[in-house]
Amino acid sequence: MTASAEFLPDDPLLHLLRRATYGPTPAAIAEIRRLGAKAWLERQLKPASIGDRVADGLVARFPLSGLTIDGIHAKVRAGVLPRYGWAPMYEVGGAALARAVWSERQLFEVMVDFWSNHLNVTCPSSDVWDSRPDYDRTVIRKHALGRFADMLKASARHPAMLSYLDNRYSTRAAPNENYGRELLELHTVGLGYTESDVKDAARLLTGLTVSWETGRYRYDAGRHATGAVRILGFRHANKSATGGEAAAMALLDHLALHPATAKRIATKLCVRFVADEPPARLVTRLTKVYLDNKSAIVPVLRALFTSAEFAASVGAKTRTPYEDLVATVRILDHGPEKSGTEAIKALYWTSEAAGQAPMAWAPPNGYPDVATAWASPSGQVVRWNAHLNIAAGWWPTTLRRPSPLTEYAGGTLPATYGALIDAVATRLLGRTVAPAHATALAAFYGKTLASPLRSGDAAAGWAFPYLLALLLNSPYFVLR
């Protein structure tokens, strides 16, 4: 067995690109080499400063993904959309996939995905048919690089979260504990609360509900359970029904800035960006940065990506199925289709078949983010098949594909199979593969590394995409 790091190029810029984005593209590699790591990272941390014409254009092809709750209800009234229809939610998924592949604001999109899992509201799912697009825009995307306390409060006042975790049905006579429990266990402090904490949180959250007429959030003082509460060090007299909403927001601020929450979010960020079992000292340091900055995320990310632990973590992450799929399209440098959404939908269904369509995880804990969770033969076969289908242009069929040999092997026909394999590996992986692996790739074509490559050979023509796929199937690509 070999250490994971030995499968990856020894290049800190490529390491940063593989972690802070959905995977390198030729343009991104050129850019980070031009700017250097520091300037590249600072640019990514200010997404509003980055023009994003291509992604904006693609998102515009999913117009339902941008609808407000009122907008969806208006379309239902106009007979344009069916009540309880799923189309807007699928468009949110399609837009997410398009942005993951083609947005220039890569770190922002990765963080949107991170928070979509942290404050998971499954998309699509029937109880958020009218609110999930709005949740994506006004809760997750709005605060993805802001303060967590603000995002948490926005989620607590959003119909999507209140519907998904049943708080809309919670009343003072019969408090529903679902949201209260997940708020503590998943959204903030993690395991370690008591049942009394859950009960008091559920009581304090009564009144935060959804209007049946409009689908909008509303605070209903008539449903609020008054009376003193104590939740993980938070105390509130909670005397008046009309003051219930403010009291609930005070709890959320308390929870967002709780040291256990800080540690939990620091840990999750490290699991996403550094290692499945993150270095304890880095987690401790990031926890402090989070608390010192009142839950602002940018300082935490800056500290993470500039840390020695991050630099030393090459090979410590494995791509999840979704990351693998998006990284495949990116490194192959396929352009979006000229019009329509057929290819993006095909990619969406591929990610669904691999078990990780964007935002579609059903339980409230969000997709698992560690390699062991995804180590399944079925999943591997789906990924391997996707690599060839995409590289060969079999499915999706409408992506704009570069001219294969020119793009991946450098324009002129390499003289031997060994040279072909080296050229393509360097283009896709940033390095050549070990001699034994190169030999196996040549053997796939029934050749040796020294065999001359002729222009009429299958390997230089119709069978060329197999080489792309085999390299993308290999440990060199699956590691992030």
Binding site: P321, P363, T372, A373, S378, W384, A440, F444
Partner: protein
Amino acid sequence: MTDCGCRVSRRTLLGAGAAGAFAGLVGDQLATQLAFASPSYGGDVFVLLSLRGGFDGLSAVVPAGDPAYYAARPGIAVPRKQLIGGDSYFGLHPALAPLLPYWKGGSLAAVQAVGQPAPNRSHFAAMEELERAAPGTSLRTGWLDRLMGGLGAAGAFDAVSVGGAMPARVLAGPAPDLGLTGIDRFKLSGEGHGRPMADTMAALYAGAPEALARTTAMTTSALATAATLKAAGYTPANGAAYPDTELGRALRDVARLIKANVGLMTACVDSGDWDMHENLGTAAPGKRMYDHLADLAAALAAFARDLGPGGLGRVTLITISEFGRRVGQNGSGGLDHGYGNAMFVLGGGVKGGKVYGRWPGLAASRLVDGDLAVTTDYRAVIGEILRARCGLTNVAGVFPGVSASTLGLVRSR
């Protein structure tokens, strides 16, 4: 898209084992609490057939002795004279005729008024709860995964779900499992004569870190097994004719895996589209419920026939659904989401020809918000089967806080 979204393959939506997220938390701990009769598995192959969308158990196992049933469903009740099988109180829907021999022969039983411990009428939340089967706990694994962990499942073909590329949600967790859209379709794109994709992958993962190498070894071995099965072809035994439907094809593949002795311990199959809010129809061919039940019965009968008495002797199949449907029909000639339900149990060890469970009655005062009450926890029924047929001694290890039912619906193995 139907309103519940149940036709989206739930297993791929919910997909993906989530081992790492739970390993070291509760999942492992629970798995080690399980104790099986024998170290090498010698129990039944346990087949879980999920009827997605909310199956109407009252149409399938009709409480003909309860006048409230006919009063509540003036347009869609199954007339007493059309009922088949059953007993003095219940009758089976006529579309289930292909299963009548198994009912009469004693290898098919039903349990009435089963369900989850608390009503949950959201498809989404109810399915999630059904498959996690651990209310009031922080467990996020599927119950079948917890069972497989206890069985010591180690190979890709130990636990299989057929119908989607990723394993069913009920298998989510650390134990190994395999999702198949079908045996013949489990293959590498591009693999062919002169293009040894799988062999090349095995070579490319030589020397890879342990975790990656292990998965790849399992993948290439599973691909090889599937290729062998595919090359051998398959002709169902005893003249069994599976319907050419998704369910028929899936059960055919399950039978194929059972007979091929690839190590199968459990299999999951879905049958969707039971969400009939409108036009459920009368008990006549061409009507929605009739045709759905007819497909279900034809597929199950073919499965039983294909396995033969010997094969069926080491198989137990159960049907479950996230909830039953409302007792009273709605204004659209359909049924809204309800609560209590019926489940079927098919297998050589079943003491069949009988409807089990305590019948709560359909009188208004007996209903739970208009729905059939649940008198038996579905987990207790499954627990009884797993204990008697699969050697499970600690039911609470799979279903926290649950004891096996004592209905006596299967013989001990």
